[in-house]
Symmetry: C2
Subunit: 471 residues, 2 copies
C-alpha cells in the first residue's frame, strides 16, 4: 500500500469559487443558491458543532446533473458536500473548506418497486417515511428508522440503523445496490439486483457508511419486507437500568426474534411524558415490539414476559390498538426533542456508543453512575438489543465549566465503550466529531488502510473533506 499522502486540503481561493458559482448559475439557474441563510441551513445545525456553511447550494434532479456538478468541482478541486435532510449529528454536512453543497431534496423519485422481489429503487432524497407511505398499500415496508425522518441517501451514507435493527439489520444489510457518482465524475453501479453475489469486491458496502467522502449516491436499491401479519407492542418497567439490560441480554441470547427492544432510563421517560403526554411510570422502561403471525407474536410476548419477571420487571403493558402503538413509537422516535423538556433552553449533545451485548449492563450502569457523579442532566435511550445506546446531555453552552464537564464525560463514555470491545459510533457515523477516536478504535494499520482507500478513490480530496479519515 503506497498511495501518496494527501496534500493539505485548503479552501479554494475566491476567484475559483466565483468561477464555480458562475458556472453553476449558468447551468442550474435558481437551483444554485448562495444566500447565507440557505448556506447555513446546509451546514451543521444540530448539536454543539460549529456551523460551517458551503459557498453555494445546488439542487440537481438527475444523476447526470450530479455528474456535471462533480466534474465541475473536480476540474477546480473544489469541495463537494452531499446533503440529505441535515439531520446528522456529527457535523457531516459542514463545509470546513467551503465548496458546493449538493442538496438531493429534488431527487425524490421512487423509481421502481418490485413487490415480487421484495426490493425497490429510489432516489437519495426520498425520506424513510415517504417511502413507507408509498409502500403501505402494497403490504410492504422498509424497516430502518433513525429518529429523524432522514433521507435514504443520508441513511446509506451514515450506515444508519434505528429501533428495528435488532431484527432487520442496519443499512449495511438492507442495501442491494447503489448508483454513485465518483470523484472523477464517473457513474458506478455497485451491484445487480440479485439477492446475493460473489462477483468481485463489495462496492456496495464500500459506499454504505462512507459519509459522502467517496462519492455522491444518486440511486439506491433497497431490500423490502412484508408488513407482518401481526404486530404487538408494549412497555415494561424495570427497577433499574441494569435489570432492564440483563433482561435484554437474556432475550437476545435466547433467540427470541424481537423486532424492537428499546431502553429509556427514568429521566428519558420523564422527558417523554412531558413532551408526548404519555403518563408512563417514571422508572427505567423497555419499549418492545414483536412481529410475526398471530400465534408467534403471542408466544414471543409471553416468553419475554417470563424473562422480565425474572429480572424484577413488569407488568408488561400492551398497546393493543394501532393508534396507541403508533403514539408509543412516535414518542420513542421523538426522544431527541423530548429530552429538551427536561431543561428548556439547553443545548443537547448526541452521543452514540455500541458494545458487545454481554457488556451492555455494565457499560450502561457505569455510565449512569458517571452521569450522577458529573452532575449532568443526561437521559439515556438505547437500541439495547444491539448493545447500542445514546446518552443525551443537556447543557448550558454559555457555562464553560459545564461544557468542559460534559466534554470530559463524553470522552469517558467513548473510552469506556472502546475498553469493552465496543465502537465509538453504533449508527451516527464519524463526521467531524468522531475522527479523533478512530485510531484508538481501529489501530494505525486499519486507519491507514482507510486512508489508502480514500486517497485512491479521491486523490484531490474533494469529496466531503474534513470527515472520517481525511482532514
Amino acid at each position: 500500500m503506497n498511495a501518496p499522502a494527501f496534500a493539505p486540503r485548503l479552501r479554494p481561493d475566491e476567484a475559483t469559487i466565483a468561477t464555480v458559482i458562475a458556472e453553476l448559475n449558468k447551468r442550474f439557474g435558481n437551483r444554485a443558491v448562495t444566500s447565507l441563510a440557505v448556506r447555513q441551513q446546509h451546514a451543521n445545525t444540530l448539536t454543539w458543532t460549529e456551523n460551517q456553511p458551503p459557498d453555494v447550494v445546488v439542487y440537481p434532479q438527475t444523476t447526470e446533473e450530479v455528474q456535471d456538478v462533480v466534474r465541475l468541482c473536480a476540474a477546480h478541486k473544489v469541495p463537494v458536500v452531499p446533503f440529505g435532510t441535515g439531520t446528522s449529528f456529527e457535523g457531516h454536512t459542514n463545509a470546513p473548506y467551503g465548496g458546493v453543497s449538493i442538496d438531493t431534496s429534488q431527487m425524490k423519485r421512487i423509481v421502481a418497486v418490485h413487490p415480487d422481489d421484495l426490493d425497490c429503487v429510489v432516489e437519495p432524497g426520498v425520506t424513510r417515511k415517504e417511502l413507507n407511505e408509498h409502500l403501505r398499500d402494497l403490504g410492504l415496508f422498509f424497516p430502518i428508522d433513525p429518529g429523524a425522518d432522514a433521507s435514504l441517501g443520508g441513511m446509506v451514507a451514515t450506515r444508519a440503523s434505528g429501533t428495528n435493527a435488532v431484527r432487520y439489520g442496519t443499512m449495511k444489510d438492507n442495501v442491494l445496490a447503489l448508483t454513485v457518482v465518483t470523484p472523477n465524475g464517473e457513474v458506478v453501479k455497485t451491484a445487480r439486483r440479485a439477492k446475493k453475489s460473489s462477483a468481485g469486491y463489495d462496492l456496495t458496502r464500500l459506499f454504505v457508511g462512507s459519509e459522502g467522502t467517496l462519492g455522491v449516491i444518486t440511486d439506491i436499491t433497497l431490500k423490502l419486507h412484508g408488513i407482518p401479519e401481526a404486530v404487538s407492542a408494549g412497555v415494561c418497567p424495570f427497577p433499574s437500568v441494569e435489570a432492564a439490560c440483563e433482561a435484554v441480554i437474556v432475550t437476545i441470547q435466547s433467540g427470541l426474534p424481537v423486532a424492537r427492544i428499546e431502553l429509556l432510563d427514568a429521566a428519558m421517560v420523564r422527558g417523554v411524558n412531558l413532551h408526548s403526554k404519555l403518563g408512563l411510570p417514571e422508572t427505567p422502561m423497555l419499549f418492545l415490539e414483536f412481529h410475526g403471525t398471530e400465534s408467534s407474536v403471542k408466544e414471543q410476548a409471553q416468553r419475554f414476559g417470563e424473562i422480565a419477571v425474572e429480572y424484577g420487571g413488569g407488568p408488561f403493558e400492551w398497546a393493543t390498538k394501532t393508534e396507541d402503538r403508533n403514539r408509543l413509537w412516535q414518542a420513542r422516535h421523538d426522544v431527541y426533542w423530548a429530552a429538551y423538556a427536561l431543561r428548556p433552553g439547553a443545548v443537547s449533545i448526541a452521543t452514540d456508543v455500541c458494545v458487545p451485548i454481554s457488556r451492555l449492563a455494565e457499560c450502561v450502569e457505569e455510565t449512569r453512575q458517571d452521569i450522577e457523579a458529573s452532575g449532568l442532566i443526561a437521559p439515556i435511550v438505547g437500541h439495547v438489543g444491539d448493545g447500542n445506546f445514546h446518552v443525551q446531555p443537556l447543557i448550558d453552552p454559555n457555562d464553560p465549566e459545564e461544557v468542559a464537564r460534559c466534554r470530559a464525560f463524553v470522552e469517558r463514555l467513548v473510552e469506556r465503550a472502546l475498553a469493552m470491545e465496543g465502537t465509538c459510533t453504533g449508527e451516527h457515523g464519524v463526521g467531524q466529531r468522531k475522527m479523533k477516536y478512530l485510531e484508538a478504535e481501529h489501530g494505525p494499520a486499519a486507519l491507514e488502510l482507510m486512508r489508502v482507500l480514500k486517497r485512491a478513490i479521491d486523490p484531490d480530496n474533494i469529496m466531503n473533506p474534513g470527515k472520517i479519515v481525511a482532514l
Copy 2:
C-alpha cells in the same frame, strides 16, 4: 481515481524463487514443501480448469508467521496464494505466475467462543463442520454451509453461502471482524466485536469476497446462532421445475421464514438416489427445513404445504427423526459427487448464477430447455430461495465437440442470468474462470473502481494474481 495501472504480472525468475524457497526452508523447516504432488494438490483440482501449481507450499501457524511469509514475498515481488481446503471451483488456488501457497490448515484454533454475545473467533483453517462440532454442546451453530466442508477462511474469501442463506444470510452477513495481513505485511484488524458500527469504511466487507487478492485472512470473528428449539425438514415433489420455482417464489414473497428451500431437478434426484441410496420419486423436488419453536415450525410447514398444493406439488413428506433429516441434508450436500453417478468417468463442470427471484422460474425453465436442446447431461440444483442455482454438466473432456457444446451452454447460462438483472456468480466467486464476465455484469466504471482498490492495496500485484480484476 488515478491509481497507476499495473505493470504486467510476470512469473518471478528462477533465482528469485530459489532465494524465497531457501528463506522459507530456513524459517519454516519441513513446513515449507516443494514436492510436485503437494504443489499440485494446492492448485486447482476440481472442475476442468488447468492445474497451475505454486513453487512452494508453506504451513504457517500464527499471524506473525503469515506476516513473515508475506513480507518475504513482498520484498521479492513473488506471488502469494492463500489456501484453505482447495474446494473452490473457479481456479482460485491456482498459481499462474508460480509463487508461494500459504496453506492455513495448521491455523485451526478456535480462539474464543462468546455464547453471551453469540459470536466466536476462529483461525482460518477451521472448517465449518469442525466449528459446529465444537459449538454443539453450547447450543449454538454457525449456519453457512457450502457443499464442501470448506475452511472458514476460504468461505470468507469467496463470500460463500449455501442452503441456509435464505434465512441466515451469506458470509457477508455473518462476519463481524477479520484480522488480515495486507500485501505490505501489516496486520489490519477490520472491526470491533460490537454488533454494529458506523466508525468509518467497512473494511470487513472489503475483504469478504476478495478471494485472497487483497490480503491473507488470519482470524475471523463470526456471528453465531442458537440451535433452534424445533427443526422440521422434508421433501416435496412437483410436476415440473417451473411449478417448484413458482411455489418457492410465493413462499419467499409471503414472508415465510423458511430456513432452507432447495430445488433438485429430476436428473439430480436420480443422481442422489444412486449416490446416497434415498429412493425418492425421480421428479423435481424441493428439500425444505423450518426452524423455530414447536408451534411456529408446525405453522410454517402447514403454510408451505398449502402453497405447494396450489402449484400441483405434494404430498410434502416429513423427515421426523434427526437421523433421517441428517441423511437428507447430507445427500443434498453431496450433490456435486452424486451427479457423477449419472455418468461415471465424466468430468463435472460447476456453474453458479443468481437472479432476482421474480425471474427464477423463467431462468430455470429456459435453462432446462437449453440443456435438452444441447443434448447435455446436466442436472440442476439450487438455493432457490435466493434465486441462486447451479447446473452441473457432466462431460467427456476428451470429446472436443462435447467440450465446445458445454462451453457454449455455460456462456448462454451466464448471459441469460445477466439479462435478467442477475449475477455471474451467486456464491462460488470469480477466481480465474469468471473474470471475463465482470465487465458485462458491472460495467467499465465499476470494474475500474475495483481495479483502483486492488492497485491501491496491492500495487505490486503479489496477492493471488490472475484472479478477479488483476491479470
